[in-house]
Subunit: 296 residues, 2 copies
């Protein structure tokens, strides 16, 4: 893929993901459950995780239907985690992507249920009744996603986060938290895509390294943007105060240190891609650039 | 199995389930996540769902390791749903099984996370890395469990419940609610056990009917016990007032009508077992008796 082909590829894949999510997240679920789920997952977000799945699947010439299901499943897990995170007992956020959060719109009970149902739906989507996707691949995708969502991954990272609000963490603990909280699902996205095709053990390992690098880079950039965006808004170097209660890469390394870290991780992601020697990996390379260069 | 062998069988299976849950729900998860999960699922409950899995697996001479994993997975889903149900935004219960509920003990955020992580863990448990359980069976078990837990099952039933507090429902809606809310997971328990062995299509269908019958019987008996237990405590026929805000089989059919319904479902369960013609189904038959005759 030439760099100029990336944007059309991305637009086309985003449309495919949106259409698939439309199909899987049905409006006719009981009461307003379907509506709340659709509100929480459709028409929003950068869809980075689905794009990683589809870019990795492309790199290994993977099974298209399986990859599209994996893309939807990982986005459902991500979206459910945002709904639960936004609730009053967690971050108590009332706005997301410019819209009232799910619990503001539908009530807390419905928001919790919608999140719960979306997690179950992710695993439904991975295990279709027909055998278009082989049972072995179905099981492998469930294995990757459930581990990334659970105690070893996202939920475990959130528990560390929750237990450490207001404390300064050392870098090892901060990294462990982020590797689980956001990194595990981003890495799993890459690996789920890769699982849809054939890879050598060496290529798999290299894709694991790529996923780990961009997973962490994503969080470092997030921490940087939190500060620099606030600066633009406030007209001064904000951040220290705003984030005094939350350990971040910026609070730990400083803004310049965090920027250097993001660049090092970006380089590590590219090095891993070179090591995996997959001619179709250019979309993954360009996604790594987007993760680090993004402005929002 | 002779009726006299049932209690020793049950005790031995309960021990096996408890030991397996001990292994799967690890204490070393980050922060107090592991502790909260263990608090929510170990040492408590009748373990009806695991027993149904194991009894059905016995009826079809099913794969032992797969059945034990399925038993743990379905109990994890059940236990997570109780943790979330008990939270202030849902039923706001402070006691369960004589202990403070998880959110009272660990806080709301930790309770929500523990439930979320338990749902992910259920699917982890069903998809072990080794191939002791065949990938095809892994995928089939995930398929059964995820559908029973999601919008077509438990979460969908809870949404109907939530939307109808304080309203009198007609019997069809009440039945639809319960078939999803509690019935789907009980039926899935039977089918997951059956999936661990070989069944004819006719036997599978009969086990579906058995699972549907005891799934609904369980709820009818629950509604009866809610009233009769309250009566014993209060020394008068309570229930009408206590449950004015919640549609139940007793409020719909009256106490005698509900008892007649429970007996009819009990008979339907036994008829289904006779139809499936499995010589090893006696534990399922005895479990049906327990479900209807239980006093708590």
């Amino acid at each position: 893929m030439n760099p100029g082909d990336f944007d059309p590829w991305m637009r086309s894949e985003l449309q495919a993901v949106e259409a698939a999510l439309e199909l899987h997240v049905r409006a006719d679920a009981p009461a307003d459950l379907g509506e709340a789920m659709r509100y929480g997952v459709l028409d929003g977000g950068k869809r980075l995780r689905p794009l990683l799945v589809l870019a990795a699947a492309q790199a290994v010439d993977g099974h298209r239907e399986a990859a599209l299901r994996a893309a939807c499943a990982v986005e459902l897990i991500h979206a459910y985690s945002l709904i639960h995170d936004d609730m009053p007992c967690m971050d108590n956020d009332v706005l997301r992507r410019g819209k009232p959060t799910v619990h503001v719109r539908y009530g807390e009970a419905a928001a919790m249920l919608a999140g719960d149902a979306m997690q179950a739906l992710a695993f439904e989507v991975l295990t279709p009744e027909d055998d278009v996707v082989s049972p072995a691949l179905q099981a492998r995708l469930v294995r990757l996603l459930s581990r990334a969502a659970g105690v070893q991954g996202m939920a475990g990272g959130q528990a560390i986060d929750l237990a450490n609000v207001g404390r300064q963490l050392d870098e090892a603990t901060l990294q462990d938290m982020h590797r689980r909280k956001t990194g595990a699902l981003l890495q799993a996205s890459v690996l789920m895509g890769a699982a849809c095709g054939n890879t050598t053990p060496a290529a798999w390992q290299a894709l694991e390294a790529y996923g780990a690098a961009i997973g962490l880079a994503f969080q470092v950039v997030d921490d940087i943007l939190d500060v620099t965006q606030a600066s633009e808004t406030l007209g001064k170097t904000a951040g220290k105060d705003a984030y005094a209660n939350k350990p971040t890469y910026v609070s730990l390394l400083g803004l310049d240190g965090a920027r250097a870290r993001a660049l090092a991780l970006h380089e590590a992601a590219h090095a891993a891609l070179r090591a995996c020697e997959l001619p179709g990996a250019s979309a993954l390379a360009l996604l790594a650039d987007r993760v680090v260069e993004r402005q929002s």
